[in-house]
Symmetry: C2
Subunit: 599 residues, 2 copies
């Protein structure tokens, strides 16, 4: 078995749960078919297994270092990324007119996923570059695109996003980096940025930083934030790399995990003029950046899911091979030991991982398909609806995997026991890698505020209505599917309770109190969404069992069992949480700082 992907599951999500066949019949996607998509996946899997996976543990143990002059790291990082660039994967999702491969977003999800599972830290550089290139492609002018985009799509120049500062991580309204206009058309950038992933490295010929800064005299707070392109090296008129642009590395942050991706404190303009190029209109930077940030949030959810998939596959393989103990009913020490996968509690640890990982994966593929359908649609109303649906699902797709796929990683360690706690096995590394995901690109708490404070309300609850309608389609299908009727009722009850909770919150005029339990709400709302996903998966599996190949029967039965697991073990957790949130509980809100330890 592969330790980075379950290809059968990708096919299931593409063609049985999702509608990739339908997508491939539209727009510019028509030049792809199952055969060519398979070939792309084969290429990606092969490269991820051979060029990314083998040194993931070594890279974790030998993180990038900064000697005050240059950042050095294992040469395999560059080699892997050159191969990735060579195959065109930096350009996978971009339109062919600008040099991309033009693959559907849901296919890119699968491709990027294999690399992230194999070696998250290396995949990080490519993801950041693609996100920065997308932002430029959306918001840059023709000249900027001509200068930067082709190099980024070729993987010759990498990209970053520079939002946070040492004093302002979650509170962008308080950033201090300045961009002062000059007579030469560019801006002079001064200030410091913090937590910049990929902020320095010697792999790519240049680094294109997408930087948030304030133009003097602009409005205060987030309304005065503008977006700038700030290259590490200036670019000559002929497109070649020129002199240094005075972006200097203050130092590398040494992290718990995700160690192979440099994470930097950067200084702009300390040693001399640092030139920035305004993207779009002044003071619109945050709006532009949010295009990239929503994409980044989905990518964070995907990264969390892939870290958990890595742990799940490894612990599954281990549990099948490792012999230890006997069933509780068997007291005879002379009887042979059984594979630990035979123990009920090990099965539970594996099943929990399966339910979390594959449920999260289904949501991420669903979201990617929304992106594809937006691209294909020519109907403004439909596109608006698809966008709204993606808007309300984004905080869930970012946060739910960050929380529950981390829990899956915890279980993977448990399956291996003492061995899982050592650095000789990859499961503890995946766990450490995954812990960042509830923090970056908007903390778990911020996602909760986004969902309960904004997304469920926008346009008079239009996004929530659309999502409800989608869930109800599945409920209708499930209620006529033998064996799924009970789950349909259970999900309907949870959905109704979710709605009445939102109603109660909306009636509370004290916004601080209304949002005091936004994070528990986020988790419970996510469970409803993932319950919906599992029902979709189970319905597709039942269809597959009836009509599919004999060889796939175990696969389908596993899906049905995991759906049952989610509904029996997981979804019931939401009941008391919705009750709690709806009760406007103020226990935490009203506790004073002094009373925590009494001093």
């Amino acid at each position: 078995m592969s330790l980075i992907v379950n290809r059968r599951d990708i096919d299931f999500l593409f063609y049985e749960v999702g509608d990739l066949d339908e997508i491939l019949r539209n727009g510019s996607y028509t030049e792809f078919d199952r055969g060519s998509i398979d070939a792309v996946l084969d290429l990606a899997q092969n490269m991820a297994e051979r060029a990314f996976l083998p040194f993931a543990g070594a890279l974790d143990a030998n993180e990038p270092a900064f000697d005050g002059e240059k950042v050095s790291m294992m040469p395999q990082v560059g080699e892997a990324l050159y191969a990735f660039a060579e195959a065109g994967f930096f350009a996978a999702g971009f339109d062919q007119e600008i040099g991309g491969l033009g693959l559907p977003s849901v296919v890119c999800q699968a491709v990027q996923g294999m690399f992230a599972c194999a070696n998250l830290s290396v995949a990080g550089y490519s993801f950041l570059t693609v996100a920065a290139a997308n932002l430029l492609n959306e918001c840059g002018d023709a000249e900027q695109k001509a200068m930067f985009l082709p190099k980024m799509l070729e993987g010759k120049w990498f990209g970053t996003m520079c939002l946070s500062e040492p004093q302002a991580g979650s509170s962008l309204s308080d950033i201090k980096t300045m961009a002062t206009p000059t007579d030469d058309g560019h801006y002079r950038i001064t200030g410091s940025k913090m937590w910049i992933s990929g902020g320095e490295q010697e792999i790519s010929e240049n680094i294109v930083h997408m930087v948030l800064a304030k133009i003097p005299g602009g409005p205060p707070g987030v309304k005065g934030i503008s977006l700038f392109i700030v290259p590490k090296y200036r670019v000559n008129l002929d497109g070649s790399v020129g002199e240094k642009n005075n972006v200097s590395l203050i130092g590398l942050n040494h992290k718990m995990g995700y160690r192979g991706t440099t994470n930097c404190a950067l200084n702009f303009g300390e040693a001399g003029e640092c030139r920035g190029y305004l993207v779009g209109e002044p003071h619109q930077g945050l709006k532009y950046m949010f295009n990239m940030m929503n994409e980044a949030r989905l990518a964070v959810g995907a990264g969390a899911t892939m870290s958990a998939l890595g742990g799940y596959l490894y612990s599954l393989q281990y549990a099948r091979e490792r012999l230890q103990g006997r069933h509780p009913g068997d007291k005879d020490p002379a009887s042979p030991q059984i594979a630990i996968i035979e123990h009920a509690d090990v099965k539970r640890l594996l099943m929990t991982q399966k339910a979390y990982v594959e449920g999260a994966l289904a949501l991420l593929y669903y979201c990617a398909t929304l992106v594809d359908r937006q691209r294909l649609s020519t109907d403004d109303d439909e596109r608006w609806e698809l966008k709204l649906l993606l808007d309300i699902l984004t905080p869930v797709a970012k946060s739910w995997p960050s929380e529950f796929c981390l829990e899956a990683n915890k279980h993977a360690i448990q399956v291996l026991g003492g061995y899982g706690y050592t650095r000789d096995y990859p499961v503890e590394r995946h766990y450490r890698d995954n812990r960042i995901n509830a923090i970056h690109e908007g903390t778990h708490g911020i996602q909760g505020l986004d969902l309960l404070g904004r997304k469920v309300r926008i346009h008079d609850g239009a996004a929530l209505k659309l999502l409800t309608a989608e869930i109800e389609k599945t409920l209708a299908a499930a209620s006529t599917t033998v064996g799924r009727e009970g789950e349909a009722r259970t999900l309907k009850e949870a959905l109704d309770q979710c709605h009445s909770t939102i109603m109660r919150i909306s009636q509370c005029s004290d916004v601080n109190r209304a949002l005091a339990n936004a994070t528990p709400f986020l988790d419970a709302f996510g469970h409803v969404v993932i319950g919906w996903m599992w029902l979709r998966l189970a319905i597709a599996a039942i269809n597959g069992l009836e009509s599919g190949k004999e060889a796939d029967k175990d696969f389908y039965r596993g899906k049905i069992a995991a759906c049952r697991f989610f509904f029996n073990y997981e979804l019931p957790k939401t009941e008391h949480v919705f009750r709690l949130v709806g009760s406007l509980d103020d226990t935490c809100l009203t506790v004073t700082p002094e009373s925590f330890i009494g001093e």
Copy 2:
């Protein structure tokens, strides 16, 4: 504020929740009073803060190394342990007749806790030595005690316990290490042991391994296991350290956390005769070892709690000082930023930590008091009851902190955001340290089997009845305490549901199915126990509020708030779990290994 202890909380647990005053009026404890106990705590706190805490991060970054000849580590480890020995702390809990300080167990809990919170890895060596010495003291003969105990109590020789083998971690019935009798009275030990904490180091003059092995011709399985003393160096007749005893280090395990305590693969008798000395009767080894293991299990729970306390205190201090953002209702970017402890979700993260850490701490102190009362009691029936109560609480005291205090550590990282994910702050280290606790000394799953398969049933449910009676005493008190009546009803309902779940399980004749959800049961049972603890704490806090000092009011209000938090946010989680377990759900039990990923 101290980053390793809340002394006010210790006093509260000693004298307001617990009955240390009463204990100090009995037996050999009469020579202590509050003043002398305070002096011991002062000494411990001072030493832990000055000699243990400062290099905890450095030790994590510079773990012990083995060059094939010797193990080396930071010299501060030895210095700290020599100071600890000098102060008599190795002997803290032992009777004065054998050279101990004779402190009550609950005081030792507090003392050891400060060192564990300050530097878990260093404290590990002392804990293992104390546990081995306790075992020897319980089960060794006069000659053995005379030879080994004084050196261990002085902290000159350290101890270990050697149970697991590479092929048998959880399944002791399958150990292969042999002990062959010789004509000289000792046994010849041959075999390998794995996961031996403190198994090799150069700090102490000798290492006293307590080793499980099989005597040829003995019964199969656990009934053929005997216990041996196997010193690293043989001991001369005059008590001095002699020649090597052929215990050799195969290698060190490199762990995710808890890095400063060496964890070893050991070989016995490969290079020459390795002498072992039988403890007690042949084939009774597992029974003896379980004396030590129960103590070890309580210590694991205490270690987990202390790792979480370290994270809690650090993140609390940070949240009070770090300025970031504004309340949801405040949109003015010109208004000053607030300390993050003002944010409702940060309060929730801190309150969750408080509820987990202080709830676990209350249980551990309660268990330690049971040990003290056993020691003091002269009534056989009473002692038997105290022992039973401790028996049923031990899997909870081990497992609940391993699970929920790890969650607390996760939250501590979250409070610090990106900074929490870096190795510059201690919170991620505590999280890594803590992850081992659900694995060693009997995995989480094994604790569940112990509780549901054995402890709730032993002696016709006598332990469960005793525990229920104790909880009901608190319920009676709570039902007449203003403000706590609702919580008393809630806890009673949870307790009743717990009982009916146990009843349903006991009626199932298929033992594999009955125990299939033993782990979820363990967690839910633990929540009932910790809910009981919080009710005890809240009642004591209400008494304190009425009669206590003005300066303590914040402290008491914090306790009452945390009780409310536990009953509103946590205890309701048990309802669906008990329902699930009682339904004999077989979703996990019946899933086949092939269906997880369909191959």
